[in-house]
Amino acid sequence: VSGALSMGSGCPVGYMNDTPALLRAKFAEALQRVRFVSSLDDDVLIDRAEAKRLLRCDDATIADLVAQGLRIDQRTEAFSYCDIMNVGLYSGTARSVPELAERFITRFSAEPPLTWTQRRRWRLAVEGRCTRAGGCAGGQWALAATPAQAYRRDPSDIGSRVDTFRTTFEAETSGYQMEVQAAPIRRLHSECLERFRSGAWQYQYLPLGLRDDPVAADRLGVMNCFSVAGWLSERLRMLGIETRVRHGLLLAFMGMEHAWVDARDADGVFKPLDPVIAVLAARSAVPASSFASFTCGSRFNRVLASRANTGQIVTHACDGRKQTVTLLVYARPADRRSG
């Protein structure tokens, strides 16, 4: 994707011998690529150990990044979660957690298209962690929006620790292939791809407030799946096209929360638009040639839609207020080979 850092062909060759100095240089270059558009106060703060874990780097690299301008909360010596994820994402080290997540999540796009729609059964573990500064004060957890196709949830896993929510369940997914008939819908899907391609938009991790404010994110030129879904929804509604913003989980070796928009096509059928996954696949995998067009109207079998269309899937309140939750999603096949 022009305007964003290309991370290669999906084949991880050539970085094994990166020296510590080269790794530090790559992270430092990432500082120039990331668009720092929100204040530290708007984001979840993480400590140095977590920053090292996400970047998979050493203390010297963190110190180097701070010296070169990485923002740090002077009082708590904490970092913005999104800053760290974005520096990792644009580092080109091919080792940071955000790079690995993107690489593993989009790997399916290189498989034969037939495999994108087959019925799948999954075993999922969803883990939420409280991000309250100073530590979790203990409180209530809830799976606010049980994914629509989920079943056999094990309630005994819920709330086993006060600072962490963990639940496991099985789910079944399937996809379908459809083509969008309405030209305005196809045009807006293409416009999203072009905005990323031109660099007008850069995919980044966004604080909750910004991800849910597509107008502001568009103005700042930083978008993720949530803001793109919101932006598309608004633009389509302006054209008189009915939409539903959808939230859910993207199922993969390292899964994550995901958002897309369903638009009512000329034939009256709601069809999904998910241009962001096409953008990520283009830079982190070797997607099949039809993958980008597939994300306009078709649905792949690695999304688990939530019943709720807003807010976080796992919610938590402690210290008298709702807290931001970081969500980890692990999905593996529940078939004969995985027991």
Binding site: S9, G10, C11, P12, V13, M16, R53, R95, V97, L100, F104, R107, F108, A110, E111, T115, Q118, R123, A125, T168, A252, F253, M254, V286, L328, Y330, A331, R332, P333, R337, S338, G339
Partner: protein, 95 residues
């Protein structure tokens, strides 16, 4: 190297957990940290110099699944460390 040896190399504390894990047991459910599995995927890709298929990534959840992936991508000329290791006769992966 076997799947078990690789997981212990990544995190020595995994040895205690793996003592009671059967070849087809779910590793996450058994207590293996997800970070170990991510590190495992990265190591296989680095050391075998391959990009694992999505179905192969999905299968890195049991010792037998990991072993099958290791066997498939073992550099030519390198013999399996243990001929009795589970997963040697796994069917081809499907996605």
């Amino acid at each position: 190297m076997t799947a078990r040896e690789l997981l212990i190399q990544i995190e020595p504390a995994n040895e205690h957990i793996l003592d009671s894990v059967a070849p087809d047991d779910d590793l996450l459910a058994a207590g293996i940290d997800s970070a170990s599995l991510v590190e495992l995927a990265l190591r296989i890709e680095e050391e075998c110099r391959v990009a694992l298929r999505a179905a192969e990534l999905d299968s890195l959840t049991t010792l037998s699944g990991i072993q099958a992936v290791l066997e498939r991508h073992r550099p030519s000329g390198e013999r399996p460390a243990n001929q009795d290791e589970p997963g040697r006769d796994q069917p081809p992966l499907e996605n």
